[in-house]
Point group: C2
Protein backbone atom coordinates (compact mmCIF):
# COMPACT_ATOMS: atom_id res chain seq x y z
CA UNK A 1 0.00 0.00 0.00
CA UNK A 2 1.42 3.39 -0.99
CA UNK A 3 2.69 5.72 1.70
CA UNK A 4 0.62 8.82 2.37
CA UNK A 5 3.52 11.13 1.59
CA UNK A 6 3.92 9.54 -1.83
CA UNK A 7 0.23 9.96 -2.56
CA UNK A 8 0.42 13.63 -1.72
CA UNK A 9 3.57 14.07 -3.77
CA UNK A 10 2.02 12.28 -6.74
CA UNK A 11 -1.07 14.45 -6.53
CA UNK A 12 0.94 17.65 -6.53
CA UNK A 13 3.04 16.59 -9.51
CA UNK A 14 -0.08 15.43 -11.32
CA UNK A 15 -1.90 18.73 -10.98
CA UNK A 16 1.17 20.76 -11.88
CA UNK A 17 1.95 18.66 -14.92
CA UNK A 18 -1.36 17.24 -15.99
CA UNK A 19 -0.40 13.60 -15.54
CA UNK A 20 -2.73 10.75 -16.44
CA UNK A 21 -4.18 8.40 -13.87
CA UNK A 22 -1.74 5.71 -15.00
CA UNK A 23 1.25 7.99 -14.60
CA UNK A 24 0.04 9.16 -11.22
CA UNK A 25 -0.35 5.57 -10.17
CA UNK A 26 3.20 4.76 -11.17
CA UNK A 27 4.35 7.55 -8.86
CA UNK A 28 2.20 6.36 -5.98
CA UNK A 29 3.59 2.85 -6.29
CA UNK A 30 7.22 3.84 -6.21
CA UNK A 31 9.10 1.69 -3.69
CA UNK A 32 10.18 3.59 -0.60
CA UNK A 33 11.88 3.02 2.73
CA UNK A 34 11.23 5.19 5.76
CA UNK A 35 14.08 6.62 7.80
CA UNK A 36 14.48 9.09 10.63
CA UNK A 37 17.31 11.58 10.92
CA UNK A 38 18.33 13.33 14.11
CA UNK A 39 18.49 17.08 14.32
CA UNK A 40 21.76 18.56 13.11
CA UNK A 41 22.87 15.42 11.38
CA UNK A 42 24.54 15.60 7.99
CA UNK A 43 23.11 12.65 6.11
CA UNK A 44 24.60 13.34 2.69
CA UNK A 45 28.10 14.74 2.37
CA UNK A 46 29.58 16.60 -0.57
CA UNK A 47 30.85 14.15 -3.17
CA UNK A 48 29.00 11.14 -1.77
CA UNK A 49 27.60 8.80 -4.35
CA UNK A 50 23.92 8.41 -3.54
CA UNK A 51 21.39 5.96 -4.95
CA UNK A 52 18.15 7.14 -3.37
CA UNK A 53 16.16 10.35 -3.36
CA UNK A 54 14.56 11.52 -0.12
CA UNK A 55 10.97 12.66 0.22
CA UNK A 56 10.43 14.65 3.41
CA UNK A 57 7.51 13.40 5.47
CA UNK A 58 8.03 15.88 8.26
CA UNK A 59 10.89 18.03 9.46
CA UNK A 60 13.24 20.43 7.73
CA UNK A 61 16.33 19.76 5.66
CA UNK A 62 19.06 22.19 4.63
CA UNK A 63 20.89 21.74 1.35
CA UNK A 64 24.27 23.34 1.92
CA UNK A 65 27.89 23.86 0.94
CA UNK A 66 30.67 24.19 3.44
CA UNK A 67 34.17 25.63 3.46
CA UNK A 68 37.20 23.81 4.76
CA UNK A 69 36.87 25.67 8.05
CA UNK A 70 33.30 24.54 8.50
CA UNK A 71 31.64 27.79 7.45
CA UNK A 72 28.28 26.77 6.10
CA UNK A 73 25.89 28.22 3.58
CA UNK A 74 22.45 26.70 3.39
CA UNK A 75 21.40 27.15 -0.19
CA UNK A 76 17.87 25.80 0.08
CA UNK A 77 15.66 24.89 3.01
CA UNK A 78 13.36 22.02 2.12
CA UNK A 79 10.05 21.37 3.75
CA UNK A 80 7.65 18.42 4.06
CA UNK A 81 6.27 17.16 0.76
CA UNK A 82 9.39 17.99 -1.21
CA UNK A 83 12.01 15.61 -2.57
CA UNK A 84 15.32 16.78 -1.23
CA UNK A 85 17.68 15.63 -3.94
CA UNK A 86 15.62 14.65 -6.93
CA UNK A 87 18.31 15.73 -9.34
CA UNK A 88 20.68 13.19 -7.83
CA UNK A 89 18.95 10.79 -10.22
CA UNK A 90 20.91 12.39 -13.04
CA UNK A 91 23.86 13.63 -10.93
CA UNK A 92 24.47 10.84 -8.41
CA UNK A 93 27.59 12.39 -7.01
CA UNK A 94 26.23 14.83 -4.44
CA UNK A 95 27.11 18.41 -5.36
CA UNK A 96 25.49 19.74 -2.18
CA UNK A 97 25.48 18.24 1.27
CA UNK A 98 22.29 17.66 3.21
CA UNK A 99 21.65 18.36 6.86
CA UNK A 100 18.55 17.74 8.95
CA UNK A 101 17.74 20.98 10.74
CA UNK A 102 15.25 19.25 13.04
CA UNK A 103 14.30 15.66 13.66
CA UNK A 104 13.19 14.60 10.21
CA UNK A 105 11.29 11.65 8.80
CA UNK A 106 11.95 10.80 5.21
CA UNK A 107 11.03 8.23 2.60
CA UNK A 108 13.96 6.95 0.58
CA UNK A 109 13.13 6.22 -3.04
CA UNK A 110 15.71 4.28 -5.09
CA UNK A 111 17.09 5.99 -8.17
CA UNK A 112 16.55 2.92 -10.32
CA UNK A 113 12.83 3.07 -9.63
CA UNK A 114 12.62 6.79 -10.41
CA UNK A 115 14.65 6.28 -13.55
CA UNK A 116 12.45 3.40 -14.65
CA UNK A 117 9.29 5.49 -14.26
CA UNK A 118 10.88 8.40 -16.08
CA UNK A 119 11.95 6.21 -18.97
CA UNK A 120 8.56 4.62 -19.32
CA UNK A 121 6.54 7.84 -19.04
CA UNK A 122 8.04 10.91 -20.75
CA UNK A 123 5.51 13.12 -18.97
CA UNK A 124 6.83 11.97 -15.65
CA UNK A 125 10.40 12.57 -16.77
CA UNK A 126 9.36 16.07 -17.65
CA UNK A 127 7.62 16.49 -14.30
CA UNK A 128 10.80 15.46 -12.48
CA UNK A 129 12.85 17.85 -14.55
CA UNK A 130 10.38 20.62 -13.82
CA UNK A 131 10.44 19.90 -10.11
CA UNK A 132 14.23 20.17 -10.15
CA UNK A 133 14.07 23.37 -12.15
CA UNK A 134 11.62 24.88 -9.68
CA UNK A 135 14.04 24.15 -6.87
CA UNK A 136 16.85 25.66 -8.88
CA UNK A 137 14.78 28.80 -9.26
CA UNK A 138 14.50 29.09 -5.50
CA UNK A 139 18.25 28.67 -5.17
CA UNK A 140 18.72 31.46 -7.70
CA UNK A 141 16.51 33.71 -5.61
CA UNK A 142 18.62 32.81 -2.59
CA UNK A 143 21.67 33.97 -4.49
CA UNK A 144 19.92 37.26 -5.16
CA UNK A 145 18.93 37.50 -1.53
CA UNK A 146 22.50 36.94 -0.37
CA UNK A 147 24.12 39.20 -2.92
CA UNK A 148 21.81 42.17 -2.97
CA UNK A 149 19.75 42.49 0.18
CA UNK A 150 20.57 43.77 3.65
CA UNK A 151 20.03 41.56 6.67
CA UNK A 152 16.50 42.70 7.51
CA UNK A 153 15.34 42.24 3.94
CA UNK A 154 17.03 38.86 3.74
CA UNK A 155 15.25 37.55 6.78
CA UNK A 156 11.96 39.06 5.69
CA UNK A 157 12.36 37.40 2.31
CA UNK A 158 13.03 34.00 3.81
CA UNK A 159 9.97 34.29 6.03
CA UNK A 160 7.74 35.35 3.15
CA UNK A 161 9.01 32.58 0.93
CA UNK A 162 8.58 29.86 3.54
CA UNK A 163 5.09 31.07 4.35
CA UNK A 164 4.13 30.77 0.68
CA UNK A 165 5.81 27.43 0.10
CA UNK A 166 4.25 26.04 3.23
CA UNK A 167 0.68 26.58 2.22
CA UNK A 168 1.37 26.66 -1.51
CA UNK A 169 -0.47 29.95 -1.67
CA UNK A 170 0.19 33.57 -0.84
CA UNK A 171 0.28 34.25 2.89
CA UNK A 172 -1.32 37.10 4.83
CA UNK A 173 -1.56 38.81 8.22
CA UNK A 174 -1.58 36.33 11.05
CA UNK A 175 -0.03 33.51 9.01
CA UNK A 176 1.85 31.37 11.43
CA UNK A 177 3.90 28.24 11.03
CA UNK A 178 6.19 25.95 12.92
CA UNK A 179 9.85 26.37 12.10
CA UNK A 180 11.83 24.84 14.94
CA UNK A 181 15.26 25.89 13.82
CA UNK A 182 18.04 27.63 15.76
CA UNK A 183 19.28 31.14 15.06
CA UNK A 184 22.55 29.56 14.01
CA UNK A 185 20.68 27.68 11.27
CA UNK A 186 19.10 30.93 10.14
CA UNK A 187 22.55 32.46 10.09
CA UNK A 188 23.75 29.67 7.82
CA UNK A 189 20.76 30.17 5.57
CA UNK A 190 21.13 33.94 5.33
CA UNK A 191 24.90 34.32 5.16
CA UNK A 192 25.08 36.17 8.46
CA UNK A 193 26.35 35.43 11.95
CA UNK A 194 24.09 34.14 14.71
CA UNK A 195 24.61 37.36 16.62
CA UNK A 196 23.42 39.44 13.75
CA UNK A 197 20.46 37.16 13.12
CA UNK A 198 19.42 37.90 16.65
CA UNK A 199 19.58 41.64 16.09
CA UNK A 200 17.66 41.23 12.84
CA UNK A 201 14.87 39.18 14.37
CA UNK A 202 14.56 41.83 17.04
CA UNK A 203 14.24 44.56 14.45
CA UNK A 204 11.42 42.74 12.67
CA UNK A 205 9.70 42.21 16.01
CA UNK A 206 10.09 45.84 17.10
CA UNK A 207 8.74 47.05 13.79
CA UNK A 208 5.76 44.73 14.38
CA UNK A 209 6.30 42.95 11.09
CA UNK A 210 6.90 39.38 12.21
CA UNK A 211 8.10 37.35 15.16
CA UNK A 212 10.46 34.40 15.19
CA UNK A 213 10.62 32.66 18.54
CA UNK A 214 10.37 29.27 20.19
CA UNK A 215 10.29 27.47 16.90
CA UNK A 216 7.41 29.49 15.49
CA UNK A 217 7.18 32.21 12.91
CA UNK A 218 4.25 34.59 12.98
CA UNK A 219 3.57 37.22 10.38
CA UNK A 220 2.05 40.34 11.90
CA UNK A 221 1.99 42.61 8.87
CA UNK A 222 2.19 40.83 5.54
CA UNK A 223 2.23 44.00 3.47
CA UNK A 224 5.14 45.41 5.42
CA UNK A 225 6.97 42.10 5.21
CA UNK A 226 6.57 41.94 1.45
CA UNK A 227 7.67 45.52 1.15
CA UNK A 228 10.79 45.10 3.26
CA UNK A 229 11.68 41.85 1.49
CA UNK A 230 10.75 43.13 -1.96
CA UNK A 231 9.12 39.76 -2.19
CA UNK A 232 7.49 38.74 -5.41
CA UNK A 233 6.46 35.09 -5.71
CA UNK A 234 6.95 34.93 -9.48
CA UNK A 235 10.01 32.75 -9.05
CA UNK A 236 8.00 30.08 -7.25
CA UNK A 237 6.39 27.47 -9.46
CA UNK A 238 3.01 27.78 -7.77
CA UNK A 239 -0.46 28.37 -9.16
CA UNK A 240 -0.93 31.63 -7.25
CA UNK A 241 2.59 32.89 -7.87
CA UNK A 242 1.54 35.42 -10.44
CA UNK A 243 -0.92 37.22 -8.31
CA UNK A 244 0.80 40.58 -8.25
CA UNK A 245 2.39 41.83 -5.06
CA UNK A 246 3.65 45.37 -5.29
CA UNK A 247 5.93 46.75 -2.64
CA UNK A 248 4.38 49.53 -0.67
CA UNK A 249 6.22 52.86 -0.76
CA UNK A 250 7.24 52.97 2.90
CA UNK A 251 10.61 51.41 2.22
CA UNK A 252 12.26 53.87 -0.10
CA UNK A 253 15.23 52.67 -2.14
CA UNK A 254 18.38 54.67 -2.31
CA UNK A 255 17.85 56.42 -5.63
CA UNK A 256 21.51 56.24 -6.45
CA UNK A 257 21.22 52.52 -7.03
CA UNK A 258 19.32 53.18 -10.22
CA UNK A 259 22.00 55.37 -11.64
CA UNK A 260 24.90 53.35 -10.42
CA UNK A 261 23.86 49.81 -11.21
CA UNK A 262 20.89 49.91 -13.54
CA UNK A 263 22.83 50.42 -16.72
CA UNK A 264 20.85 48.23 -19.06
CA UNK A 265 17.26 48.67 -20.15
CA UNK A 266 14.95 48.64 -17.14
CA UNK A 267 12.85 45.52 -16.76
CA UNK A 268 9.78 46.98 -15.24
CA UNK A 269 9.38 49.82 -17.67
Amino acid sequence: MPQQALITFARRLATQNDLSEVEQNALRNLPSYPAQIKANQDFVRLGDRVDTACLIVDGFVGRFRQSYQGLRQIVLIQIPGEIVNLSSVVLPRACSALQALTVTNILKIPHHALRAVAERYPNVAQAFWRESAANASIVAETAFNLGRRRSVSRLAHLIAELACRHERKIAGDGTQFSFPVTQAHLADALGLTPVHINRTIRELRERKVATVARGFVEILDWQALVSIAEFSPAYLDMPSAHRCIKPSPDFPPSPSAVVELGRAQPLCG
Copy 2:
Protein backbone atom coordinates in the same frame (compact mmCIF):
# COMPACT_ATOMS: atom_id res chain seq x y z
CA MET B 1 23.20 21.06 -42.63
CA PRO B 2 23.70 21.26 -38.87
CA GLN B 3 25.29 24.31 -37.34
CA GLN B 4 28.77 23.88 -35.91
CA ALA B 5 27.68 24.99 -32.45
CA LEU B 6 25.00 22.30 -32.40
CA ILE B 7 27.52 19.66 -33.40
CA THR B 8 29.81 20.65 -30.57
CA PHE B 9 26.95 20.74 -28.11
CA ALA B 10 25.73 17.32 -29.23
CA ARG B 11 29.21 15.90 -28.85
CA ARG B 12 29.58 17.19 -25.31
CA LEU B 13 26.22 15.83 -24.22
CA ALA B 14 26.98 12.54 -25.93
CA THR B 15 30.25 11.99 -24.11
CA GLN B 16 28.83 13.06 -20.76
CA ASN B 17 25.77 10.88 -21.10
CA ASP B 18 26.85 8.05 -23.35
CA LEU B 19 24.32 8.78 -26.09
CA SER B 20 23.97 6.56 -29.13
CA GLU B 21 24.80 7.75 -32.64
CA VAL B 22 21.08 8.04 -33.37
CA GLU B 23 20.44 10.15 -30.34
CA GLN B 24 23.42 12.32 -31.08
CA ASN B 25 22.14 12.79 -34.58
CA ALA B 26 18.77 13.89 -33.33
CA LEU B 27 20.52 16.61 -31.36
CA ARG B 28 22.64 17.72 -34.30
CA ASN B 29 19.55 18.04 -36.47
CA LEU B 30 17.59 20.19 -34.08
CA PRO B 31 16.17 23.20 -35.94
CA SER B 32 17.82 26.47 -35.01
CA TYR B 33 17.74 30.16 -35.88
CA PRO B 34 20.73 32.43 -35.43
CA ALA B 35 20.41 35.77 -33.69
CA GLN B 36 22.73 38.47 -32.49
CA ILE B 37 22.27 40.42 -29.28
CA LYS B 38 23.92 43.73 -28.52
CA ALA B 39 26.00 44.21 -25.43
CA ASN B 40 23.99 45.12 -22.33
CA GLN B 41 20.71 44.11 -23.86
CA ASP B 42 18.14 42.27 -21.77
CA PHE B 43 16.69 39.76 -24.18
CA VAL B 44 14.53 37.80 -21.75
CA ARG B 45 12.71 39.54 -18.94
CA LEU B 46 11.42 38.05 -15.71
CA GLY B 47 8.03 36.46 -16.28
CA ASP B 48 8.27 36.44 -20.08
CA ARG B 49 6.80 33.40 -21.73
CA VAL B 50 9.53 31.98 -23.95
CA ASP B 51 9.34 29.27 -26.59
CA THR B 52 12.97 28.82 -27.58
CA ALA B 53 16.15 27.91 -25.80
CA CYS B 54 19.36 29.76 -26.68
CA LEU B 55 22.67 28.10 -27.43
CA ILE B 56 25.56 30.56 -27.13
CA VAL B 57 27.81 30.56 -30.16
CA ASP B 58 30.04 33.31 -28.87
CA GLY B 59 29.75 36.01 -26.25
CA PHE B 60 28.70 36.02 -22.62
CA VAL B 61 25.24 35.99 -21.10
CA GLY B 62 24.22 36.79 -17.55
CA ARG B 63 21.26 35.10 -15.96
CA PHE B 64 20.01 37.54 -13.36
CA ARG B 65 17.34 38.79 -10.99
CA GLN B 66 16.64 42.41 -10.37
CA SER B 67 15.00 44.48 -7.66
CA TYR B 68 12.42 47.15 -8.27
CA GLN B 69 15.15 49.79 -8.04
CA GLY B 70 17.22 48.11 -10.70
CA LEU B 71 19.75 46.48 -8.38
CA ARG B 72 20.94 43.44 -10.23
CA GLN B 73 22.33 40.11 -9.18
CA ILE B 74 23.81 37.93 -11.88
CA VAL B 75 23.24 34.41 -10.72
CA LEU B 76 25.10 32.59 -13.48
CA ILE B 77 27.43 33.71 -16.22
CA GLN B 78 27.05 31.54 -19.28
CA ILE B 79 29.74 31.00 -21.86
CA PRO B 80 29.91 29.75 -25.45
CA GLY B 81 28.75 26.17 -25.94
CA GLU B 82 26.14 26.34 -23.20
CA ILE B 83 22.39 26.55 -23.55
CA VAL B 84 21.28 29.54 -21.61
CA ASN B 85 17.79 28.57 -20.57
CA LEU B 86 17.39 24.88 -21.24
CA SER B 87 15.05 24.47 -18.30
CA SER B 88 12.63 26.89 -19.90
CA VAL B 89 11.45 23.81 -21.81
CA VAL B 90 9.75 22.68 -18.61
CA LEU B 91 9.27 26.14 -17.07
CA PRO B 92 8.40 28.39 -20.00
CA ARG B 93 7.67 31.40 -17.82
CA ALA B 94 11.12 32.88 -17.29
CA CYS B 95 12.08 32.85 -13.64
CA SER B 96 15.36 34.63 -14.35
CA ALA B 97 16.03 37.40 -16.82
CA LEU B 98 18.81 37.18 -19.38
CA GLN B 99 21.25 39.89 -20.36
CA ALA B 100 23.98 39.84 -22.96
CA LEU B 101 27.15 41.06 -21.27
CA THR B 102 28.94 41.47 -24.59
CA VAL B 103 27.88 41.24 -28.20
CA THR B 104 26.55 37.72 -28.34
CA ASN B 105 25.63 35.33 -31.13
CA ILE B 106 23.11 32.68 -30.26
CA LEU B 107 21.20 29.88 -31.90
CA LYS B 108 17.54 29.75 -30.98
CA ILE B 109 16.14 26.24 -30.65
CA PRO B 110 12.36 25.88 -30.41
CA HIS B 111 10.98 24.20 -27.31
CA HIS B 112 8.72 21.94 -29.34
CA ALA B 113 11.73 20.45 -31.08
CA LEU B 114 13.60 19.90 -27.82
CA ARG B 115 10.51 18.40 -26.26
CA ALA B 116 9.98 16.09 -29.20
CA VAL B 117 13.53 14.78 -29.01
CA ALA B 118 13.26 14.31 -25.25
CA GLU B 119 10.01 12.40 -25.58
CA ARG B 120 11.35 10.14 -28.26
CA TYR B 121 14.69 9.41 -26.57
CA PRO B 122 14.60 9.01 -22.78
CA ASN B 123 18.40 9.19 -22.67
CA VAL B 124 18.28 12.62 -24.22
CA ALA B 125 15.60 13.70 -21.77
CA GLN B 126 17.92 12.61 -19.01
CA ALA B 127 20.84 14.43 -20.60
CA PHE B 128 18.82 17.65 -20.72
CA TRP B 129 17.79 17.24 -17.11
CA ARG B 130 21.40 16.60 -16.15
CA GLU B 131 22.60 19.66 -18.03
CA SER B 132 20.05 21.77 -16.12
CA ALA B 133 21.08 20.20 -12.85
CA ALA B 134 24.72 20.96 -13.54
CA ASN B 135 23.84 24.60 -14.08
CA ALA B 136 21.82 24.60 -10.88
CA SER B 137 24.86 23.30 -9.06
CA ILE B 138 26.87 26.27 -10.26
CA VAL B 139 24.15 28.61 -9.07
CA ALA B 140 24.26 26.94 -5.67
CA GLU B 141 27.99 27.56 -5.51
CA THR B 142 27.31 31.18 -6.40
CA ALA B 143 24.98 31.39 -3.42
CA PHE B 144 27.76 30.05 -1.22
CA ASN B 145 30.17 32.51 -2.75
CA LEU B 146 27.86 35.43 -2.05
CA GLY B 147 26.86 34.36 1.42
CA ARG B 148 30.12 33.19 2.89
CA ARG B 149 33.12 34.68 1.15
CA ARG B 150 34.76 38.07 1.33
CA SER B 151 35.23 40.14 -1.79
CA VAL B 152 38.73 38.92 -2.69
CA SER B 153 37.74 35.29 -2.32
CA ARG B 154 34.58 35.88 -4.30
CA LEU B 155 36.43 37.33 -7.23
CA ALA B 156 39.12 34.66 -7.06
CA HIS B 157 36.44 32.01 -7.07
CA LEU B 158 34.72 33.43 -10.10
CA ILE B 159 37.99 33.57 -11.98
CA ALA B 160 38.91 30.01 -11.07
CA GLU B 161 35.49 28.72 -12.04
CA LEU B 162 35.41 30.48 -15.38
CA ALA B 163 38.91 29.26 -16.20
CA CYS B 164 37.82 25.68 -15.60
CA ARG B 165 34.51 25.93 -17.41
CA HIS B 166 36.20 27.60 -20.33
CA GLU B 167 38.59 24.79 -21.13
CA ARG B 168 36.50 22.09 -19.45
CA LYS B 169 39.55 21.14 -17.46
CA ILE B 170 41.48 22.39 -14.47
CA ALA B 171 43.42 25.55 -15.17
CA GLY B 172 46.98 26.43 -14.18
CA ASP B 173 49.58 29.20 -14.06
CA GLY B 174 49.45 31.37 -17.12
CA THR B 175 45.92 30.41 -18.05
CA GLN B 176 44.45 33.34 -19.85
CA PHE B 177 41.08 33.98 -21.40
CA SER B 178 39.02 36.68 -22.96
CA PHE B 179 36.30 38.07 -20.73
CA PRO B 180 35.29 41.45 -22.12
CA VAL B 181 32.98 42.50 -19.36
CA THR B 182 32.85 45.76 -17.40
CA GLN B 183 33.64 46.09 -13.72
CA ALA B 184 29.99 46.94 -13.21
CA HIS B 185 29.07 43.53 -14.60
CA LEU B 186 31.49 41.89 -12.22
CA ALA B 187 29.89 43.87 -9.41
CA ASP B 188 26.49 42.50 -10.40
CA ALA B 189 27.89 39.00 -10.50
CA LEU B 190 29.63 39.21 -7.13
CA GLY B 191 27.12 41.20 -5.12
CA LEU B 192 29.47 44.16 -4.70
CA THR B 193 29.70 47.72 -5.96
CA PRO B 194 31.77 48.65 -8.99
CA VAL B 195 34.05 50.70 -6.77
CA HIS B 196 34.77 47.78 -4.55
CA ILE B 197 35.30 45.47 -7.51
CA ASN B 198 37.99 47.86 -8.60
CA ARG B 199 39.73 47.68 -5.24
CA THR B 200 39.43 43.91 -5.27
CA ILE B 201 40.91 43.50 -8.74
CA ARG B 202 43.77 45.67 -7.64
CA GLU B 203 44.42 43.51 -4.58
CA LEU B 204 44.60 40.36 -6.70
CA ARG B 205 46.97 42.14 -9.05
CA GLU B 206 49.20 43.46 -6.28
CA ARG B 207 49.40 40.04 -4.70
CA LYS B 208 50.44 38.73 -8.13
CA VAL B 209 47.62 36.21 -8.21
CA ALA B 210 45.69 37.26 -11.30
CA THR B 211 45.00 40.26 -13.48
CA VAL B 212 41.72 41.45 -14.90
CA ALA B 213 42.09 44.20 -17.46
CA ARG B 214 41.09 45.25 -20.95
CA GLY B 215 38.71 42.36 -21.32
CA PHE B 216 41.24 39.70 -20.40
CA VAL B 217 41.81 37.59 -17.35
CA GLU B 218 45.23 36.14 -16.69
CA ILE B 219 46.05 33.76 -13.89
CA LEU B 220 49.54 34.36 -12.51
CA ASP B 221 49.52 31.92 -9.60
CA TRP B 222 46.93 29.17 -9.81
CA GLN B 223 47.76 27.67 -6.43
CA ALA B 224 47.34 31.01 -4.68
CA LEU B 225 44.12 31.66 -6.55
CA VAL B 226 42.67 28.31 -5.54
CA SER B 227 43.75 28.88 -1.98
CA ILE B 228 42.24 32.35 -1.72
CA ALA B 229 39.04 31.19 -3.38
CA GLU B 230 38.89 27.89 -1.52
CA PHE B 231 38.06 26.61 -4.96
CA SER B 232 37.24 22.96 -5.37
CA PRO B 233 35.80 21.93 -8.74
CA ALA B 234 33.71 19.09 -7.32
CA TYR B 235 30.52 21.04 -7.95
CA LEU B 236 31.24 21.25 -11.67
CA ASP B 237 29.94 18.39 -13.77
CA MET B 238 33.23 17.92 -15.60
CA PRO B 239 35.40 14.86 -16.13
CA SER B 240 38.38 16.37 -14.33
CA ALA B 241 36.33 17.86 -11.52
CA HIS B 242 37.37 15.30 -8.97
CA ARG B 243 41.03 15.79 -9.31
CA CYS B 244 41.72 16.97 -5.80
CA ILE B 245 42.69 20.57 -5.17
CA LYS B 246 43.64 21.30 -1.61
CA PRO B 247 43.99 24.87 -0.43
CA SER B 248 47.53 25.73 0.50
CA PRO B 249 48.05 26.90 4.07
CA ASP B 250 48.99 30.49 3.32
CA PHE B 251 45.43 31.74 3.75
CA PRO B 252 44.65 30.85 7.33
CA PRO B 253 41.00 30.76 8.38
CA SER B 254 39.88 32.47 11.53
CA PRO B 255 39.79 29.49 13.84
CA SER B 256 36.77 30.84 15.64
CA ALA B 257 34.61 30.08 12.62
CA VAL B 258 34.88 26.39 13.34
CA VAL B 259 33.66 26.78 16.86
CA GLU B 260 30.98 29.29 16.10
CA LEU B 261 29.35 27.89 13.01
CA GLY B 262 30.46 24.30 12.55
CA ARG B 263 28.04 22.77 15.01
CA ALA B 264 27.15 19.63 13.12
CA GLN B 265 29.42 16.76 12.24
CA PRO B 266 32.36 17.94 10.14
CA LEU B 267 32.25 16.99 6.51
CA CYS B 268 35.89 16.58 5.81
CA GLY B 269 36.69 14.36 8.73
